[in-house]
């Protein structure tokens, strides 16, 4: 089994290095095939491992020592257990699909080889992240995915907005990583090890306050990667990257790393329910907050990004309330349908020549049948309609909120579910239904390559049927995670809740269809609604990016300039130069003494003699005075 573990882990790395070899040469399809093939190998190995783990075993290997000094011992250790194997499956499935898809999507791009190098490197980092058996290894993957995310968001580096977004994403993640690093330090100094098994065994013996702080700092790390408020702005901007990247990194895998961390560290969070409540509340808030921004946005990818953000909020609600397996389940289901949605959006973008505004599309269902079906089904899954994947995972989170008696959270999530359905179908309606507004812009859309659609189909299948794995999954992960069953005990309440939610969501969908499926004009910012305060607030993302710009970025640059020009040059350096100049000036001024005139020198000599004599007299007098 170790062999399969190593194959699953290192196949993407090999693919990445192979593509990197051709990184500077013009496009060669072979890199795409090799990278995809290796990803598929990785997927197969993961499948074998899943089968093995389903049999009740786990694999734990230690590749080699990484850091060892003093009492610190950090190996490159990898573990395939019930949780990580689920993540591995999610990662390898989605990334295989995305790789194959990218062969078509990046077909005309100059950086084709480079793209696959980055993409496979990302998968490798993600695998390290989920498979590591210690916090330091997790951190390697954590930073690794951050790096690849940087490289991929800024993939089209000639675009100013892309590189800016890449740097923003990296730096924001770094802020959170600091929190995570501190969490790791706390764990080390209090437990003496960073291995999961040791830490989780010992964590109960620590004072509660320390555990609380550990939980908080680790969660700060999770907030950055999963783009939780207030570190959420980078995710929407990250949509500057190529769409497969958004599908893989900013929907299915990397952004869920934060959830994975909380799930993985469940023995810690179990001890600190107060932090859990905070996480859940923040998650609920972000779910609503992000959904509200998605309502008005006119950028197809950003809408999906906000939806991702919103779904991450759901996951954190579940994780925060202790329903770790539910969080992980939603993570999995979400990965499938959200990746599908993004890839569909990618098809649309291709068809529309990188046009992102859904108001400029419309009626595309005629030319893009496959994409239309896939995106619609994905949206249905996202909305949580029975029997699609979203129903099983998302409704479960609502139930968790209800069962745990957090009714406010429940209400917020319910509302968000409606909003989700609305904005998802607003998007679908605007893109695929109504008049063919794109004709105004002289665009001739076409369906994507066949094999791209074929590549997407596994995701479609999974988005539809993932819910049916629920029991198998449940039995699998509850070997490791708390096995609480969340079920409303009262039969009547349960049915009212379920059917009520379904009706609410369906009505939201119908409303969206009604409002947008016959849209016939491109909004130009003059309508009454577009000038209302609420719309502007949402349109400008609650002015938060602007706020960050004004309060952090610009003052930091200003302060830096002051630090350099005013403090460093005018104070610190000037002080040094002043001392040097003082000495130099003294020399310059006393230079006249050395005028070469013997007579003057003799006078100075006598003067010195007098001074010395005076000193001798003074000291003698003084000495006598003291001794007497």
């Amino acid at each position: 089994m170790e062999l399969y573990l190593y194959i699953a882990l290192f196949a993407p790395l090999v693919g990445s290095l192979f593509s990197a070899l051709f990184g500077m040469s013009p496009k060669t399809n072979i890199t795409g095939y090799i990278a995809s093939g290796l990803l598929f190998t990785s997927f197969l190995s993961s499948l074998v491992l899943l089968n093995y783990v389903l049999g009740g075993h786990t694999v734990h290997v230690e590749l080699m020592t990484w850091m060892a000094t003093g009492d610190l011992y950090i190996p490159f250790g990898f573990v395939v257990d019930q949780v990580s194997v689920v993540m591995m499956m999610v990662v390898t499935i989605v990334s295989t699909v995305v790789h194959v898809y990218s062969v078509g999507y990046m077909d005309h791009d100059k950086g084709f080889n480079r793209f696959f190098s980055w993409l496979s490197a990302f998968v490798f980092s993600m695998m390290v992240l989920v498979m590591s058996d210690n916090f330091a290894g997790l951190f390697i993957g954590w930073e690794g995915v951050g790096l690849c995310s940087w490289g991929l968001i800024g993939f089209w580096y000639h675009k100013e907005s892309a590189t800016w977004a890449a740097n923003e994403a990296f730096i924001m993640n770094r802020i959170a990583d600091l929190g995570m690093l501190i969490g790791i330090f706390m764990i080390y100094w209090n437990v003496g090890s960073l291995q999961y098994d040791v830490v989780f065994a010992e964590i109960g013996n620590l004072p509660l306050v320390i555990t609380t702080w550990i939980g908080i700092f680790l969660f700060i790390g999770a907030m950055g990667k999963s783009a939780q408020f207030p570190l959420h702005t980078w995710l929407a901007d990250a949509m500057e990257g190529p769409t497969p990247v958004s599908a893989l990194i900013h929907a299915a895998t990397m952004v869920t790393a934060g959830v994975y961390l909380v799930v993985r560290a469940n023995p810690i969070y179990d001890l600190i329910p107060n932090v859990g409540i905070f996480i859940a509340s923040l998650g609920a808030f972000v779910a609503l907050f992000a959904a509200s921004m998605a309502l008005v946005n006119r950028d197809m990818k950003r809408i999906i990004a906000y939806s991702t953000l919103s779904q991450l909020g759901y996951m954190f609600v579940a994780a925060g309330l202790g329903a770790y397996w539910v969080a992980l389940f939603h993570l999995m289901a979400h990965a499938f349908f959200k990746a599908l949605l993004f890839l569909g959006a990618g098809n649309v973008m291709h068809a529309m020549h990188d046009e992102l505004d859904p108001f400029k599309m419309g009626g595309l269902r005629k030319v893009m049948k496959g994409t239309f079906i896939m995106m619609t089904l994905a949206s249905v899954a996202l909305a949580g309609i029975y029997p699609f994947a979203g129903f099983f995972s998302k409704d479960l989170i609502l139930e968790v909120g209800f069962v745990e008696h957090h009714y406010i959270i429940y209400t917020v999530l319910l509302l968000t579910a409606g909003l989700t359905a609305f904005y998802s179908f607003r998007l679908v309606a605007l893109i695929f239904h109504g008049e063919e507004r794109y004709k105004l812009f002289g665009i001739h859309p076409h369906e994507a390559y066949k094999f791209m659609l074929v590549a997407m189909s596994p995701l479609l299948v999974l988005a539809i049927i993932a819910g049916s794995f629920k029991m198998t999954y449940y039995q699998l992960v509850t070997n490791l995670l708390p096995s609480t069953v969340y079920h409303v005990h009262n039969e009547v309440t349960f049915w009212i809740m379920t059917i009520g939610t379904q009706l609410f969501v369906i009505s939201a969908i119908l409303f969206a269809y009604k409002k947008y499926s016959n849209w016939n004009s491109v909004p130009d910012g003059t309508s009454k609604m577009e000038n209302s305060f609420g719309y502007k607030l949402l349109w400008n993302q609650y002015y938060i990016p602007k706020f960050y710009e004004e309060v952090f970025s610009k003052p930091y640059l200003e302060l830096s300039k002051i630090a350099w020009k005013q403090i460093d040059l005018k104070i610190v350096d000037a002080t040094v130069d002043m001392i040097a100049n003082a000495i130099y000036k003294t020399g310059e001024n006393t230079r006249d003494i050395q005028n070469g005139n013997l007579s003057t020198m003799l006078r100075w000599m006598v003067f010195g003699l007098v001074v010395l004599l005076a000193l001798a007299v003074a000291f003698t007098v003084g000495y006598n005075a003291v001794s007497a």
Partner: protein
């Protein structure tokens, strides 16, 4: 009593002579006053019992040194007044007086301890010259020889500098000039 009279007499004379030396603008006055002062100083040596030193003082200073100065002065125009630019003359006097006062203060103050012991005590039974000779050729033999060499060097140096081609300085000339000088010298020789 006699000693006191002699001391004060010579002291006054010496001071006067030296003051003239320092103050006069006539080179001749100065050299004459100084020669006189030197002789008066030798009187102190006699009073102090340092007969040999006194003799040396007269011979070397008043004889050799003064003669040298006299010869030296023959190069210059001695009849002319020595014109000197006086810059801040008061500072000169203030400094001089201050230095004197300080030194006097140090000498007068009871700081010369009593426990100084004579390393080479003066034996009253033998004459000064003999005693001086005994110390000079035993303990101070090396310095004495060194002094002899020094005098020799000084003599040679004086001769060289005041001697031939003294209007040219080798140290201040460029290399080519020296080379040229050698050539002309040889040419001169060849001419003979």
């Amino acid at each position: 009593m006699f000693e006191a009279i002699a001391f004060y007499l010579f002291a006054v004379l010496t001071i006067v002579m030296f003051t003239i030396t320092v103050m006069t603008s006539q080179a001749l006055y100065a050299i004459t006053a100084m020669a006189a002062g030197m002789i008066f100083i030798s009187a102190f040596f006699f009073i102090l019992g340092a007969d040999f030193l006194g003799a040396i003082q007269i011979i070397v200073y008043t004889g050799a040194v003064m003669a040298l100065y006299a010869f030296g002065m023959m190069f210059f125009d001695t009849t002319r007044n020595v014109v000197e630019k006086k810059v801040n003359p008061q500072i000169v006097f203030v400094l001089g007086v201050l230095a004197a006062v300080m030194v006097v203060a140090i000498f007068v103050a009871p700081i010369i301890s009593d426990n100084i012991q004579a390393l080479y005590p003066i034996d009253p039974t033998i004459g000064n010259s003999q005693a001086v000779g005994m110390v000079l050729f035993t303990k101070y033999l090396v310095p004495f020889e060194l002094a002899a060499v020094m005098l020799l060097v000084a003599m040679i140096g004086g001769i060289i500098m005041a001697g031939k081609k003294m209007d040219k300085s080798l140290t201040l000339m460029a290399e080519e000039e020296i080379g040229m000088m050698d050539d002309s010298y040889r040419a001169e020789e060849g001419g003979h």
